[in-house]
């Protein structure tokens, strides 16, 4: 028994993702996986899947698909996307379709069309089918590595999606927790290469209002804001970088590195954003404003522990 869908339209940066492939950074492999890991886990667990099961990550570009064989229940979580779900006959939409948003579980029948498109807030949402979505694995994970396309791959028009052992789950709303909303104050620890910058540049980083630029993909997002001028010529050997590293290129422009970041690089990292703040950061859109707030490593660790515990309880409690 399988359910089958055909993709009628997919925007850029729509791809198969899962919990990623951690632990391979020493071999040049980023963890990849969902940009918003909480939203992905919420979608998966809402339909009875493992939190890190393969699902579809949808960008602001949106996704349309037609169900060829069903039924299969699905959940959409993350951001405030618009989810339309209509009967489809000969290309014309019938009356009586459902219009809703992210954070719901519902069921797709053969012959129905599902349209997911940008809504009032958020940059990424996750479509998880109840069952096992067929996805090519690479190095133990179906997460798509965007630069190479390896893993489950980009989701493009014409692609077929197969779900093995599809299940039916009662439709419901998933209450969107406050801690899944975008974050406008990003907590970060200083460095590890803050020594390349004079104290006034660190102060500027913390005082300024920053915005995400349009140069935003799964590798990272370039910021608009003041230029951060290093005090010496940038001459450092390539060093390991992390998801959340804020690197400053030779031109003074800051970039926050995200899920598909390169694992080493020769630009100084002025601060590093707490990993537990990155999912909420990922839900900001190009043009949105935020600030950095520096925290001590210990304060960051305590914040992170609190957030991780809260998220785990919330995921288990539903």
């Amino acid at each position: 028994m399988t359910a089958r869908m055909i993709v009628r339209f997919a925007g850029p940066h729509v791809s198969v993702q899962d919990g990623g492939r951690p632990g391979l950074a020493r071999f040049g492999v980023p963890t990849s996986g969902a940009m918003d890991r909480l939203a992905m886990a919420a979608a998966n667990t809402a339909v009875g899947n493992d939190p890190g099961a393969a699902c579809i990550e949808i960008s602001l570009g949106g996704l349309q698909l037609d169900c060829l064989e069903g039924p299969v229940s699905f959940a959409v979580a993350g951001g405030g996307f618009i989810v339309e779900h209509t009967a489809q006959t000969g290309g014309a939409q019938k009356e009586g379709g459902q219009k809703g948003g992210s954070w719901q579980v519902t069921t797709l029948q053969a012959g129905e069309r599902l349209v997911i498109r940008r809504g009032p807030w958020g940059a990424w949402c996750y479509l998880a089918f109840a069952g096992k979505m067929a996805a090519t694995e690479w190095l133990g994970s179906a997460a798509t590595h965007s630069q190479s396309g390896l893993g489950g791959g980009q989701v493009v028009s014409g692609a077929e999606i197969t779900v093995f052992e599809p299940r039916l789950v009662e439709g419901r709303v998933i209450p969107c927790p406050a801690f899944a909303r975008p974050m406008t104050e990003l907590r970060a620890t200083l460095g590890p290469q803050d020594r390349f910058f004079a104290p006034d540049q660190i102060a500027l980083l913390e005082a300024a209002v920053w915005r995400l630029s349009g140069a935003y993909d799964r590798m990272g997002v370039r910021l608009t804001g003041p230029l951060l001028v290093p005090r010496a010529r940038l001459d450092m050997p390539s060093e390991p970088v992390a998801r959340g590293s804020v690197q400053v290129a030779g031109d003074g422009v800051a970039t926050v590195l995200l899920a598909d970041h390169q694992t080493t690089g020769g630009y100084p990292k002025i601060v590093t954003v707490l990993d537990s703040d990155l999912d909420r950061f990922a839900q900001l859109r190009p043009g949105d404003a935020f600030r950095f707030r520096l925290v001590t490593p210990l304060a960051g660790l305590n914040q992170s522990r609190m957030m991780r515990t809260m998220r785990a309880r919330w995921l288990e409690g539903r």
């Binding site: 951690p22 632990g23 391979l24 950074a25 020493r26 071999f27 040049g28 492999v29 980023p30 690479w138 190095l139 590595h145 630069q147 190479s148 390896l150 970060a188 620890t189 200083l190 460095g191 590890p192 450092m236 050997p237 390539s238 060093e239 390991p240 992390a242 959340g244 590293s245 390169q262 694992t263 080493t264 690089g265 590093t272 954003v273 707490l274 990993d275 537990s276 490593p297 210990l298 960051g300 660790l301 914040q303 992170s304 522990r305 991780r308």
Partner: protein, 214 residues
Amino acid sequence: MKWPIFRPVAEHGLLVELGDRIDPLTHAAVLALDRALAARPFSGFAEAVPAYVNLLVRFDPLITDHRAVETALRALLRAPDTPVDAKAVRRVDVVYDGPDLDEVARRTGLSPEAVIAAHLGGSYQVALYGFAPGYAYLSGVPQEIALPRKEAALRGVPAGSVIIAAGQCIVTTLTMPTGWWIIGHSPTVILDAQGARPFLFDVGDRVEFRRVAS
């Protein structure tokens, strides 16, 4: 003694610096700490990412913290070195048919055969990974064929290309752009995603190139 320096990286890491310049002794110290960590990981250890002068040590913030990790790493730095795996010399076959071989020869004032001989004569070690999955930066390209990278990158360079620049060599594992000089290709599999041991090299391994006809 200035080093080691432990620099916090968000809530999940410490960057352990053992120097600030690329030199064999600093890199050897990085590799020794990397081996020691692999042999005796502390509770909550997640991964280590070695580079030229430092090692990023990532940990589970629910299990441990920066201070406990620093204490564990200081103890490993004081402990006797973990022996190097004696078998860690990797052999890589090369067909010297790269599109840039003649240009490398022209720029270095050597004949193409002399470029090949120089490349084969290098003493290579995996310094670190970077740029893309499986891209191992091999140090040890002989000075006489060390060129800076090209002015412009070339797109779509196939996996298995043997490329050199800035005294380093990479055997590519994906089809990616590169601004390095392509001197040949290798039939040796460096990244086998289905394999029990997907990566032929670990950081620190020695590498020997062998010329093959095709």
